[in-house]
């Protein structure tokens, strides 16, 4: 498990970027409804994030599932920590927990008016 070279790349991505969404497609052109929901939530909150398109790399597409022990895409990481997939992000957004979590981690949140 740990010698998977994809894991090093993932560790680097989630270390160098405060907020990372592993997704299908890009933030501008999501190619999956569930990925699109997470992009929308982040946009609503005005949070800068790095979107990583797993469709561009089959190794990453499987690798992120193994790395997170989570079998589906999208996946949100904040400050190197796995937060959840689409359902969890949506629930946390609606309850206000996501804003709290981001603020606690020092991420700037600027909710759209």
């Amino acid at each position: 498990m740990t010698d998977n070279p994809v894991f090093d790349r993932i560790r680097q991505d989630i270390t160098e970027n405060d907020v990372v969404v592993f997704m299908k497609g890009t933030p501008v052109f999501p190619q999956c409804g569930f990925s699109a929901v997470v992009v929308q939530v982040m946009s609503h909150l005005g949070v800068k994030f790095k979107g990583i398109n797993v469709l561009e790399d089959p190794g990453l597409r499987q690798g992120i599932k193994d790395f997170s022990n989570w079998p589906t895409i999208p996946q949100l990481y904040v400050k190197g920590e796995f937060v959840g997939g689409c359902d969890i992000i949506r629930e946390m957004y609606q309850s206000g927990e996501l804003t709290d979590l981001l603020s606690t981690r020092g991420i700037e949140v600027r909710p759209a008016a």
């Binding site: 299908k24 190619q31 999956c32 409804g33 569930f34 989570w70 796995f82 359902d87 629930e91």
Partner: protein
């Protein structure tokens, strides 16, 4: 056995849910990535179980995923989940 029946059996065994609803959303995702001609790829489940007490959202969903490994290998592609304790479901 259909995917729905499989899901129901596995989820009942693992979580002894007070409430379990399984909805096949495959038709709504026809033509999307992960869909396939026979359907049985996209599901939505609501599980109310006291097994979720004390677990975070991530832990609850991981627990559900953990019992459905074979189903994911057999073509299950997406599972929308509501995982609630009996208290939260009131």
């Amino acid at each position: 056995m259909s995917m729905s029946q499989n899901l129901e059996r596995k989820l009942r065994e693992a979580f002894a849910p007070q409430e379990l609803t399984i909805q096949d959303d495959s038709a709504r995702h026809e033509g999307h990535a992960g869909a396939r001609p026979g359907g049985e790829t996209h599901y939505r489940v609501r599980i109310v179980s006291d097994r979720f007490v004390g677990l975070s959202r991530v832990e609850r969903q991981r627990a559900v995923y953990a019992v459905l490994g074979a189903e994911f290998e057999a073509g299950l592609h997406a599972l929308q989940m509501q995982t609630l304790t009996p208290e939260e479901a009131k």
